[in-house]
């Protein structure tokens, strides 16, 4: 059959449709893509910045002021340095620096140091009296992850006290938030009447909207006195991990309940009806049929809640304590990673000081913790996901 030639009317339509501009569509597509890509760029930027400063922290030699000075001038070849009695205690094998010259301490006496001059490729020069002596420390990864003392001023960089406090506060928060959040979600999706739902959901939203600094003062002025009244003033300190943990739990309840409720609502009614048809009670249906069916969504909710609790800063800064403390007693004061970062950085750090570099390393640890949790969450969701038609 020969191809039918288009009529003039068809020609018109074809022409109009063909000449419709598509450039605008392409522009919109690229703009929206860039908006989404912004999140990728931000993540790359964060990782780059944290990584670079942390690399600095672990590879560079950090110099701390020992508060000791040279008691008298020394020449380029003197191996015994007279020093002031005051200041930090030095030990053999310490690395010290006077002006630009690096030296290694061989022997220590109250007012004199025997040193090996001109170390690390620096030239041995004469030095005047009264110059400050700096001690060099290098932080090793092993010390960072296994040391039990965190005191940057004196060269102690073991992050276990901070990590331990973070984990204990998170654990307490989860003990509060997970049962309560899941309970609220089950109630809202299985039991609640319309009226109850209309009251509870806005209330939960209010709870979610309270600023964290207000929660922090809530912990300090209400929860801590309550704990002290229950357990005794001797047992519970004024700043303690328990009240911070409890309040973080309260903060996170709306998150857990709303995500869990979404997961529970997504379970088709047919499953519930089948259970009722078999004679199950409402509780049995909820706990033995619906919750296992919605498990992947609930697990995702739990993991988001844990990430939120780990990263919480304001509440722990106000209520948990202001000094690193390696303890398993939740009623003691102990500083978490986030609380420490905020305390140190709010005191005007000088760029390139020991404290400044250390907070980046801590930030990187936090980042990796939440990244790991995200990956676990994705794996869990994929593994337990149930698709219903």
């Amino acid at each position: 059959m020969p191809v039918p030639t288009p009529t003039p009317a068809e020609d018109d339509i074809a022409a109009r449709l063909r000449s419709r501009p598509r450039r605008f569509e392409a522009f919109i597509r690229w703009t929206l893509f860039l908006a989404a890509a912004l999140s990728i760029f931000t993540t790359i930027g964060i990782v780059y910045e944290l990584g670079r400063e942390s690399l600095n922290f672990f590879t560079r030699q950090l110099w701390e002021d020992t508060n000791k000075q040279l008691a008298a001038a020394v020449g380029p070849t003197d191996t015994v340095l007279p020093v002031t009695r005051s200041g930090a205690a030095l030990h053999p094998d310490d690395t010290i620096r006077v002006e630009e010259e690096v030296m290694r301490v061989l022997a220590v006496e109250p007012t004199a140091l025997t040193v090996a001059r001109g170390q690390q490729g620096t030239p041995a020069t004469a030095h005047a009296a009264g110059l400050d002596i700096y001690r060099g420390t290098r932080v090793s990864l092993v010390e960072f992850f296994t040391g039990t003392q965190w005191a940057p001023q004196i060269g102690k960089f073991g992050m276990l006290p901070l990590l331990n406090a973070t984990l204990i506060v998170t654990a307490i928060a989860m003990i509060v938030a997970l049962p309560l959040g899941l309970g609220i979600a089950i109630y809202l999706s299985e039991y609640a009447s319309d009226r109850a739902r209309r009251l509870l959901k806005p209330t939960l939203e209010i709870l979610a909207g309270v600023p964290t600094v207000v929660y922090g003062y809530f912990a300090l002025t209400l929860v801590t006195p309550l704990l002290r009244a229950i357990f005794g003033k001797d047992v519970v300190e004024v700043y303690n991990m328990a009240s911070a943990g409890i309040v973080i739990g309260i903060l996170v309840i709306p998150l857990v309940s709303s995500m869990s409720e979404d997961a529970l609502s997504a379970v088709p009614q047919s499953l519930r009806h089948a259970a009722y048809a078999l004679g199950a009670t409402k509780l049995e249906t909820a706990l033995q049929v619906v919750v296992p069916a919605a498990f992947s969504g609930i697990a995702a909710a739990f993991i988001v809640a844990i990430s939120r609790a780990i990263g919480e800063t304001m509440i722990v800064a106000l209520a948990a304590g202001a000094g690193p403390n390696f303890t398993f007693n939740p009623f003691e004061a102990a500083e978490t990673i986030t609380g420490h970062i905020v305390r140190i950085s709010s005191g005007d750090l000088s760029y390139d000081s020991i404290d400044y570099n250390s907070i980046f390393a801590l930030g990187l640890v936090l980042f990796f913790m939440t990244l790991t949790l995200n990956i676990i969450s994705q794996r869990v969701v994929r593994k337990f996901r149930q698709v219903y038609d």
Binding site: G87, Q153, R228, D348
Partner: protein
């Protein structure tokens, strides 16, 4: 029926809960106090009151209403209540500009003054270090020191603590370093762990304490157990109030503001008060200082006017704030420093 009761039950519950914890909350901590409240006029505690020394005024009179612009001050939390009082008065008497004062610790204050050059005046409870002076010079500021008062660093315990009255300097060193329980210091004291509340490492108070008690060695105090550090002295006050086994130290004004809940400890048998600080008997007496630079004072006349006003009227306010007046010679020296910085010294 039950549904109607919702509207009754929830408000009732809220009322009940708020009522229950009120008594527990109120005497323990006052949320308002956690903010920087200006130090109120509390009566000074025991000890003969010494009238502020009469200092001849060497400075040209200054009318605050003639000046405007901003004055940026930052530094010691110890000097903070005094600086804030003088700033309030400066503004009450007509200053039309803005004065901002941040309480971040002497070290952090010098950081802002000498390294980033953000502030006009640096408050300090310790003298400037050589390295800080060098840093200032590197950015074109020659720091000038003005002594404005004296502080008797108060070592305090809670009122509930009934066993500690006096500590020797040696015992004080052990309390803040190696001792684990109070019984380690004196066997008749309770065997309870010592809870320590100290200013952070950015604080001039910390530097001063380490210098006097530990001969500038920071290690023993920073490795002590149960250590809580904060540059904000109000946080320390809260912590010490909470337990009879807690101990800490900060500027005298913060003790005086909370004299109903805290008790000072005598050091070497001497309690801090006007007489002992003036006579130099109290071992932990230290100067209160403010620093500025001639370049700033000449470029920003409101800064020079404020410092002038400060030096002229500080002795009228300092006892009320809770500190002790500097000696007449020290104030005269500060006034000479001002005149020299303004190029008015004959």
């Amino acid at each position: 029926m039950i549904r109607r009761l919702w509207w009754l039950v929830v408000p009732l519950l809220a009322l009940l809960l708020s009522g229950c914890c009120q008594d527990i909350a109120a005497p323990q901590t006052d949320g308002y106090r956690l903010l920087h409240t200006p130090v109120g006029a509390t009566a000074p505690p025991t000890g003969p009151s010494v009238a502020a020394p009469q200092v001849p005024n060497l400075l040209p009179p200054v009318n605050p209403a003639d000046y405007t612009g901003d004055i940026i001050v930052a530094g010691s939390s110890t000097v903070y209540p005094l600086a804030e009082r003088m700033a309030e008065r400066f503004q009450e008497e007509g200053f039309r500009g803005q004065i901002t004062i941040d309480s971040i610790g002497s070290g952090a204050g010098f950081e802002r003054f000498c390294v980033s050059g953000e502030t006009d005046i640096s408050n300090a409870s310790r003298p400037i270090k050589d390295s800080e002076r060098e840093a200032c010079r590197a950015i074109g500021r020659e720091p000038v020191e003005f002594r404005v008062g004296t502080d008797g660093l108060a070592v305090v315990v809670a009122r509930d603590n009934d066993f500690v009255d006096n500590l020797t300097l040696d015992e004080l060193a052990r309390v803040f370093s190696s001792a684990r329980t109070w019984a380690d210091i004196r066997p008749e004291w309770p065997a309870e762990p010592i809870q320590r509340y100290i200013p952070g490492t950015d604080s001039g108070t910390f530097d001063f304490f380490v210098e006097v008690v530990f001969d500038k060695n920071e290690e023993p105090i920073l490795t002590a157990d149960n250590l809580q550090m904060s540059e904000d002295d109000n946080v320390l006050v809260q912590g010490i109030e909470g337990s009879p086994y807690a101990i800490g130290f900060f500027g005298y004004a913060y003790y005086e503001e909370n004299a109903d809940k805290l008790r000072p400890v005598a050091i070497e048998g001497v309690l801090p008060n006007a007489a002992t600080v003036e006579a130099g008997q109290y071992p932990l007496a230290r100067p209160l200082l403010i620093y500025s630079a001639p370049s700033i004072m000449q470029r920003k006349p409101q800064v020079a006017a404020f410092i002038n006003f400060f030096l002229t009227h500080v002795n009228e306010e300092i006892v009320d704030v809770g500190y002790f007046p500097a000696s007449a010679e020290a104030l005269k020296q500060s006034m000479h420093n001002w005149l020299r910085a303004m190029g008015m010294e004959p």
